[in-house]
């Protein structure tokens, strides 16, 4: 089934560089007086939700914003480290909107909608202007101008950053914009509230059922439009770099109410994470991709060295250059350590599977800064007129430079691993980090439920099958600050006479009843196993069979196993406490229930996609050198329509047609 | 909210009154030190301070107000600060993050207050009685003898010494802290801290020295 007449992507006509402008020139607007009559619900307060809530409130709409954390400032965007891309070309290295567009589509392995990506590139520069105006303290050079660095998969330096805390600074910028609107009374903020369901009235999204996580009460909230900005679903793997509370539930609830879910199998496994240390592990910690600017990734070339390292008799620093395998530099000479994330992750897995992993579990490779320390140290010694041949001095100066660039990351590594990364190479291994898939949206960012929008990581987005580093922050803020505030007006212009949406209607009552029943079912269940037991079990299946490399047999098994866990979950789960008051286990139970459905659809999507592209690697479809082999027949967005159970979901295909970019083999050699 | 009812305004007021009292302390120790050098010079200086109308009727009231203000504001802030944490910790491990001195200004302050009471009783009240109640004739030479007389009792000297040790502790935190409260924390801060430290140690020790000197020499 193809995306039918009901849900066209609604991309504008005209040359690609004019589409967004001509779209904005033609859409319907809501006049300022009428905006005061319109309510909008925003679920999630990360970069996308926070910036959207602030911008919509500023335009004059009445915004109700919801987050499950105790403050909007704690949304998981805060943890993004490396940077944000923008085609400013401040470095004069040949960057342009087109090149950012090109890199993003290519980086995504030609599985993104090109009109959306071009628009993203077009507004990217505005984001930086906006954030600087808000007082975001980006890194600057000695001339006082903004500094840039380079990220994986591109040949220019277009990444703006604030040490290793770019996400934090950008989110606090959006939070400050929200604060301004909260103070004006234009945003009503609901902290510690979780969206439990979407309410649809006469075919349109008209509100949500939210749970006050402190009192346990269910609340009805109405609006003329509902914006889902609830982030990604990486926690379906149990272990990921996502926050403990990150979940798919808001997105999954709207999916169950009619929003199609696109490309669930496109998941980003990030190459530079701290390896798992044991069964107790609750989450994984990412080390910014920016580390690959200066760090070199390697494993020992000889198996006896691997054995000696694992037994602790050999230190990595004692291995001679000639006995090290810098496998990324070897396999991809053009991009070296800065290949895109999917490529770097698979290459690390390949080495570890071949028996060259360097920690006790055999699942780690080295990320080594020794060369960078010496390079920076020598440079600094020369600049400051000191002896560049003095090894101790060079080491000291070099470590200082590395500390200014990555100090917080090095400190974090040392806290977790208890090793000093200035002296010994870091150990890293890939981990689930970001989900390119998500709720299907059209050019307006509207889902297949009229009046229901999805922005940021929650939608299936502009990243195709693989996201380039520093592009998530760009997309979240682009959606929230500069895209949704326009496109939503096009829909709301028809709603100016509707008036306030009442909540004492059968639709709200039915939705609330459904939520109440599920909560009661969990509390009253006479099971014996805590929620995490099932979540871990699901995560293990996902990682082993639906993880970095997939095959038909494993995927089929995974689908059956997930179904079985789901059945077991409803029979055996034990949720302590009661319905009233704060009950984290109860909240977790609801989230895991949704993950148990999503996981199956995820595997089903991976099984359907008989090709390898980006983060999706099917063992049946690879080149003789082990690279991903795309198939033209799958040049589409797989959008799944809910139909009872995940196994019965209907597939809709949005064919991707590239007019402005030549579809080539993605090579980083 | 008015400046003086704000938390920062109150701290600024505390600092300004503290710096004023510190400047007085410097003057006081300077005059007292004269007693070690020569009884005559001490008498001269004391007589000047005791009879000069500007000192007597302008500076003395300001000083008393300054002392009162510093104490009252200290209590107001202490009350405000205590009520900011109505439920106490079961376990608080403060020595890991701050100095004992900085956390106990109210106690060192209270001991100093007690001492000031004694000091008033010992010196200031007799002085007022002598001059303004009994209207005795000015005697330029009585000051030194009175001073020596006060330091005869070892218990009093002991209490005097302990009070000045407490003053030292109060100053060790308070002097440099006043600058922080006034917003001065810059490249001069290390120098300010060193100077304040030296002052806080030297001045109280000088007072103690004077007391001991007279106790043992007369």
């Amino acid at each position: 089934m193809k995306i039918g007449a009901n849900f066209p992507a609604k991309t504008p006509e005209g040359p690609i560089e004019d589409k967004w402008t001509s779209y904005k020139n033609k859409i319907d607007l809501v006049n300022p007086a009428n905006k005061r009559l319109i309510d909008i619900i925003v679920v999630g307060t990360g970069l996308a939700g926070g910036s959207a809530a602030a911008s919509l409130a500023e335009l004059g709409y009445n915004v109700k914003a919801f987050c499950f954390q105790d403050s909007p400032r704690r949304a998981h965007s805060i943890a993004a480290q490396g940077g944000i891309n923008a085609s400013k070309n401040y470095m004069g290295d040949g960057d342009s909107d087109y090149r950012l567009f090109y890199d993003t589509v290519k980086g995504g392995d030609y599985r993104a909608r090109e009109e959306n990506v071009y628009r993203l590139a077009e507004v990217s520069g505005n984001i930086i202007d906006q954030c600087v105006a808000q007082g975001v303290p980006f890194a600057r050079d000695y001339g006082g101008l903004l500094d840039n660095r380079s990220f994986g998969g591109v040949l220019v330096s277009r990444t703006f950053y604030a040490k290793g805390q770019t996400g934090q600074q950008l989110l606090l910028g959006a939070y400050s914009a929200m604060n301004r609107q909260i103070a004006r009374g234009k945003i009503k903020m609901y902290n510690r509230h979780e969206m439990m369901d979407l309410v649809i009235v006469e075919g349109k999204a008209r509100g949500i059922i939210a749970k006050n996580l402190i009192t346990g009460e269910l609340e009805r909230h109405s609006a003329h439009a509902v914006v889902i900005a609830s982030g990604g679903y990486g926690n379906v793997f149990y272990l990921s770099t996502n926050a403990m509370g990150s979940n798919v539930s808001a997105a999954w609830k709207i999916h169950r109410k009619g929003a199609w879910f696109a490309n669930p199998c496109f998941t980003q496994i990030h190459p530079t994470c701290i390896p798992v240390s044991g069964d107790h592990q609750s989450k994984l910690t990412l080390m910014s991709e920016s580390l690959r600017n200066d760090g070199r990734i390697w494993v020992p070339a000889k198996e006896e060295d691997v054995k000696a390292i694992r037994s602790g008799t050999l230190k990595p620093t004692a291995i001679a250059e000639a006995d090290r395998d810098y496998f990324l530099e070897r396999r991809y000479p053009a991009f070296g350590n800065l290949v895109p994330r999917d490529v770097a992750s698979r290459a690390a897995k390949e080495r570890c599977d071949a028996g060259f992993g360097v920690n006790a579990t055999g699942e780690a490779v080295y990320l080594d800064f020794a060369a960078a320390v010496i390079r920076y140290g020598k440079e600094k010694a020369l600049v400051t007129h000191q002896d560049a041949n003095n090894e101790a001095l060079v080491l000291e100066l070099g470590r200082e430079i590395i500390a200014t660039k990555y100090g917080n990351l090095f400190q974090m590594y040392e806290k977790i691993v208890d090793e000093n990364p200035y002296e010994t190479p870091m150990m890293i291994y890939p981990a689930v980090h970001y989900t390119m898939g998500g709720v299907w949206v059209d050019y307006d960012l509207m889902t297949t439920v009229p009046g229901c929008y999805a922005i940021g990581e929650a939608n299936f987005s502009e990243h195709g099958a693989n996201r380039l580093g520093a592009s998530a922050l760009m997309q979240g803020l682009a959606d929230g600050y500069f895209v949704l505030p326009y496109t939503i007006g096009n829909y709301l212009a028809k709603d100016i006479r509707t008036g306030a949406i009442p909540v004492d209607t059968p639709e709200f009552a039915a939705a609330e009843k459904g939520v109440q029943e599920q909560l009661e079912r969990f509390i009253n269940n006479k099971g014996s196993k805590p929620v995490d037991y099932f979540h871990k079990k699901l995560g293990k299946i996902m990682w082993d069979k639906v993880g970095m490399s997939r095959n038909s047999k494993d995927l089929k098994e995974a689908i059956e196993e997930i179904q079985a866990i789901r059945d077991e979950f409803y029979k055996e789960v034990k949720v302590p406490g009661d319905l009233d008051g704060f009950n984290e286990e109860l909240a977790k139970a609801g989230r895991v229930a949704d993950f148990l459905e999503l996981g199956e659809l995820f595997a089903k999507d991976a099984l359907n996609r008989e090709e390898s592209c980006g983060g999706h690697f099917r063992e049946e479809h690879q080149t003789p050198e082990g690279e991903a082999k795309r198939d033209k027949a799958f040049q589409y967005v797989a959008a799944w329509e809910h139909n009872g159970a995940p196994k019965d979901a209907n597939l809709h295909k949005e064919m991707l047609d590239y007019k402005y970019i030549e579809v080539k083999e993605r090579s980083y050699k | 909210m008015s400046f003086i009812s704000s938390s920062i305004g109150r701290k600024v007021a505390m600092s300004l009154s503290a710096l004023f009292l510190i400047s007085f302390l410097l003057l006081h120790v300077a005059i007292n030190l004269l007693s070690v050098v020569s009884a005559e010079m001490y008498n001269e200086a004391s007589h000047f301070m005791g009879t000069n109308p500007i000192v007597q009727f302008v500076m003395q009231p300001i000083l008393i107000l300054g002392v009162l203000f510093h104490f009252i504001m200290g209590f107001v802030l202490e009350f405000q600060n205590k009520s900011a944490r109505p439920v106490k910790y079961e376990m608080k491990n403060d020595q890991g993050n701050s100095s004992w001195l900085s956390r106990n200004m109210i106690y060192s302050g209270l001991v100093i207050l007690a001492f000031l009471g004694l000091h008033f009783y010992d010196f200031w009240l007799p002085e007022i009685q002598y001059k303004y109640i009994e209207f005795q004739a000015p005697d330029e030479h009585r000051y030194f003898a009175e001073l020596v007389h006060k330091f005869e009792n070892p218990t009093r000297v002991g209490f005097y010494a302990v009070s000045f040790i407490l003053l030292m502790m109060h100053l060790l935190h308070g002097f440099q802290s006043a600058f922080q409260s006034l917003g001065v924390n810059n490249k001069f801060t290390p120098g300010i801290k060193k100077t304040a430290w030296a002052f806080s140690v030297v001045v109280p020790l000088a007072f103690v020295f004077i007391a001991l000197f007279h106790h043992f020499n007369h």
């Binding site: 007082g135 107790h280 | 917003g183």
Partner: protein
Amino acid sequence: MDLKLKIWRQKNAAAKGKIVDYDISEVSSDMSFLEMLDVLNRELTEKGDEPVSFDHDCREGICGSCSLQINGRPHGPDGGTTTCQLHMRKFKDGDSIVIEPFRAKAFPIVKDLIIDRSAFDRVQHAGAFISVNTSGNTQDANATPINKGDADHAFDAASCIGCGACVAACKNASAMLFVSAKVSQYALLPQGQVEREKRVTDMVSQMDEEGFGACTNTGACEAECPKGISITNIARMNREFIGSNLKS
């Protein structure tokens, strides 16, 4: 290792709380502190008891959700660390660990170890922003160069995670470090100049209204801040506040 935990349990804001003892065994030194509590909670759940509620989310030291007064110190004994980044290797077999919520009048307890830090949000609402529309029609980001030193100091101040350790550590439960970090960030940047005076008076006024104590310059906040925010920011805020009052 085996540990003896003494944990503050409190059903809700209105209820009376108390310390409850728990024994926990086979704790691995590679675990984070919160993973140790996860183990305890799993055991409690399996036994049919209610697990201990505590705030946590990112578990990588940046969201500022986690709190906990551990053996009398906010975020525990390790410097420059949030509770989620504290590892059990900092403890010894047989240790007794007292775990309490951060305590302050302005941070009422929600349940067990969870506190309500919305006072921080309200202080930010009072003025922690630059009034610029999010239209994107601002000047080019490089139109105003900013001295690198100022930009770096602004960043250092802005790296506050809003966890509340400064309040928890302060003997006066003062929020000066938190508020001054935000005031400093904007005071140091050219974009923050227009609203500079109003911002500091409004934020300080809200801070006082929330019931935080005053600053005694003990430096405990700085010593316990997991992000190493310096009390030079407090001096700057004092300066800003005095200046603002002198002008108005």
